[in-house]
């Protein structure tokens, strides 16, 4: 148990936008089977961190390694192929496509047949199309969306849209899943369900999870390791118990007397 392989390693990453130091000296290691949290007040730089990990932004300095490969400056699609999948804080589904097609699109990067093979309808094309459908329906089943497979994605209720984003991300067969505020906009009942769901996903898909969350109930109950950001700086990192009692964290959230 002690020597689980590191999937995602972030060492000393900095990112500024003009004069604003959005993220400073950010360090993070995610190993196989981890379930970690990234928290902080609004504007602390959490989503910027996600964007740095997934290639949307390029770090000014520092290293990001996915399964040992250096990926600073790599395009997002390349990082996705290495096994990093994400959801978005402001949901980014393919609205006009069906729920099933959203999930199926996630499978596309693992496809082995060529464009020409597709036009000619090769054996590999047909078998992979079947496998894609199969996988996508399985994933929709796990997330409880199978009944809505043929509806337009944008017609789904908000909570289901978040679930569909998770299904789509899982379809890419990730080694680490980055969830950006999965509980945002959910009611307490749904939040409890979400916690169960995240546990099930980790067990079933053997995927490490890093989540950004504002809801302390969700984060503290779910995560084994939490990193706290404030104004781009890491002010605490450790188990929920340690983080909760850290004076700097309390100060960041509640202010000083």
């Amino acid at each position: 148990m002690s020597e689980r392989r590191a999937i995602l390693e972030v060492v000393g990453v900095n990112k500024s936008f003009g004069g604003l130091k959005a993220v400073q000296d950010f360090n993070l290691t995610i190993r196989e089977g981890d379930l970690q949290g990234l928290i902080g007040p609004n504007g602390a730089g959490k989503t910027t961190c996600f964007n740095l990990l997934t290639g949307v932004y390029t770090p000014d300095t520092g290293e990001v390694r996915v399964s040992g490969h250096r990926v600073e400056g790599a395009r997002p699609w390349r990082i996705a192929r290495l096994g990093v999948a994400r959801t978005f804080q402001n949901i980014r589904l393919f609205g006009a496509l069906s729920v099933l097609d959203n999930a199926r699109l996630g499978c596309h990067l693992r496809v082995g047949h060529s464009f020409a093979g597709m036009v000619l309808r090769s054996v590999l094309h047909r078998s992979e199309e079947r496998a894609i459908r199969d996988r996508a329906m399985d994933l929709l089943g796990v997330l409880g969306l199978a009944d809505r497979a043929h509806e337009e994605a944008k017609s789904l209720p908000y909570g289901d849209q978040r679930k569909l984003e998770i299904a789509r991300a899982l379809a890419t067969e990730p080694r680490v899943l980055l969830l950006d505020e999965p509980a945002a906009g959910m009611n307490p009942q749904e939040k409890v369900e979400l916690r169960g769901l995240i546990h099930r996903i980790r067990e079933r898909f053997k995927v490490a999870i890093l989540l950004i969350e504002h809801d302390m109930g969700v984060v503290m109950n779910l995560c084994e390791h939490i990193t706290v950001l404030n104004f781009g700086q890491t002010i605490a990192a450790g188990s929920p118990g340690v983080v909760q009692n850290d004076p700097r964290v309390i100060e960041a959230y509640l202010g000083t007397e």
């Binding site: 597709m118 036009v119 047909r126 992979e128 199969d134």
Partner: protein, 475 residues
């Protein structure tokens, strides 16, 4: 090994059924094309309806253009407004090969084809497929490939641009192609014309047999090297003297294959990747789609089919290939088809291609339109009745409203044509006004286009027409 590959291995279909499914549609298209050429066209010609054959050819060429543009503007959501340029590239490439190639192989530029490209119906003493048909087919493919190459060169740098910027680049490319052709000499090497010093400078080999002011011979044209072909394409005056190869067979074949390829793309994993780019580029890239490469790919495939359509257009009866005809105006005609049909809908683009091609002809010869206004009124009555019935049944009135609207349209156009006939106004000259009005009406009434992103046989389209209204609706 990924889970996908693992599952695919266990779900693999047999080779034989796959091969059958792969080839059957192609064979069907070929069969329909033969049927159109050997049965339908002669029947129409005998009935004196040559006009409909000509119309059909125009429609199918327009369809190929509209469907190819759908792959760029519809699937990937990139706004290209220079599609006619790819058509022009394909047209001139094919025209050079057919015209000068015919001189090389046959010593003249007449049609040498077999039954498949014959437009004198009823003749039986020629083979089905002659070598000249292979020349034409090769020219079409070459035109498509050169256009695809241009698509790659234009797309690679410019598809990193977004929205308006890409539109401007494609517009610029369109103008460059047009101006390049227009600025060439207005000459086509033709038998009987005089040799000029310019010819002898361009084609030194002629110097041994021909002097200035000699007549150009067929042998001389045949000996002109390949690299001077693009020089003598008629420039601003147009490429005259092209043989007319574009028979019903060729247009049905190309349109059928274009439709087939478009549907195969759309219904595949690659097609979903294209559509995902249009829906949300950032999410698409985060899911592992190499967005730039896919945009370029869509652009190249679209350019290929546009190039082939250009080759067909160049060899159509009654067409003189002319750069002015393949400019911005043509690009816009194609965009109108794609937008009217619904961005992303293949069948929508095909239907719109029919409407947009027929409407100007109807306006030009208003007799048919003028006679149709009573049917339009009938449609209005029927639509109103349908709305009543559907409403009392608690169902969506979309179908009724559609019929009512179509009826109003036909009645309105019919009455307009009636008036135009009486006062001798040529409505055909105002076709762009009608298209503009149609676009405006579309943006107000149905902004997603005729069919949106779906296809005409999609369940949701028909379900939408007859569905029970939701409980929240007015009843």
């Amino acid at each position: 090994m990924s889970d996908l590959r693992h599952r695919a291995a266990s779900l693999s279909p047999g080779f034989v059924p796959t091969a059958v499914l792969s080839i059957l549609p192609v064979a069907a298209v070929l069969g329909i094309a033969m049927l159109a050429q050997l049965w339908l066209a002669p029947v129409l010609a005998n009935a004196g309806a040559d006009f409909f054959i000509k119309m059909g050819v125009d429609i199918l060429v327009a369809m190929v253009l509209a469907i190819s543009l759908t792959m760029v503007n519809g699937f990937t959501g990139q706004f290209s407004i220079g599609h006619a340029a790819f058509m022009a590239v394909g047209a001139y490439t094919a025209a050079c090969i057919v015209y000068y190639g015919s001189y090389r192989f046959y010593g003249n530029a007449n049609v040498q084809g077999g039954l498949v490209s014959s437009m004198v119906y009823g003749v039986r003493d020629v083979p089905w497929f002659a070598w000249a048909d292979a020349l034409f087919l090769g020219a079409l493919l070459a035109g498509g490939l050169v256009a695809a190459g241009c698509g790659y060169l234009v797309g690679l740098p410019s598809l990193r641009l977004k929205g308006d910027y890409l539109a401007i680049v494609t517009l610029g490319f369109g103008e460059i192609v047009r101006v390049l052709v227009q600025s060439q000499t207005t000459e086509v090497l033709a038998e009987g014309a005089s040799v000029t010093p310019d010819h002898l400078r361009m084609i030194p080999a002629w110097g041994s047999t021909l002097a200035v002011d000699d007549y150009i011979t067929a042998e001389a044209i045949a000996s002109a090297p390949v690299w001077v072909w693009p020089k003598y394409v008629g420039g601003a005056l147009g490429f005259g003297g092209l043989p007319f190869y574009t028979s019903p067979f060729w247009v049905v074949l190309v349109a059928g294959l274009t439709l087939l390829v478009a549907f195969r793309i759309k219904s595949s994993s690659y097609g979903r990747a294209f559509l995902s780019i249009r829906e949300d580029e950032i999410a698409s890239e985060a899911m592992g789609v190499n967005v730039t490469a896919y945009k370029v790919r869509a652009f190249v495939v679209a350019a290929f089919f546009a190039g082939i359509a250009g080759g067909l257009f160049a060899h159509t009866v009654g067409v003189q290939l002319n750069p002015a005809e393949l400019g911005f105006q043509k690009s816009f005609d194609i965009i109108i088809m794609v937008v009217l049909g619904g961005l992303g809908s293949i069948s929508g683009a095909a239907i719109a291609a029919v409407i947009v091609t027929i409407l100007p002809e109807l306006l030009r010869t208003p007799d048919l339109l003028a006679a149709s206004w009573p049917y339009g009124l009938g449609g209005v009555v029927l639509g109103a009745g349908l709305i009543g019935v559907l409403r009392s049944g608690g169902r969506s009135t979309t179908l009724g409203r559609a019929v009512l609207f179509a009826g109003l349209l036909v009645a309105g156009l019919g009455l307009l044509a009636l008036w135009a006939k009486g006062s001798e106004v040529d409505l055909g000259r105002y076709r762009m006004v009608f298209f503009a009005l149609a676009l405006i009406a579309m943006m107000i009434l149905r902004p997603q286009g005729l069919l949106g992103v779906g296809e005409i046989w999609d369940r949701s389209f028909w379900a939408d027409l007859v569905a029970r209204r939701s409980k929240g609706g007015v009843s």
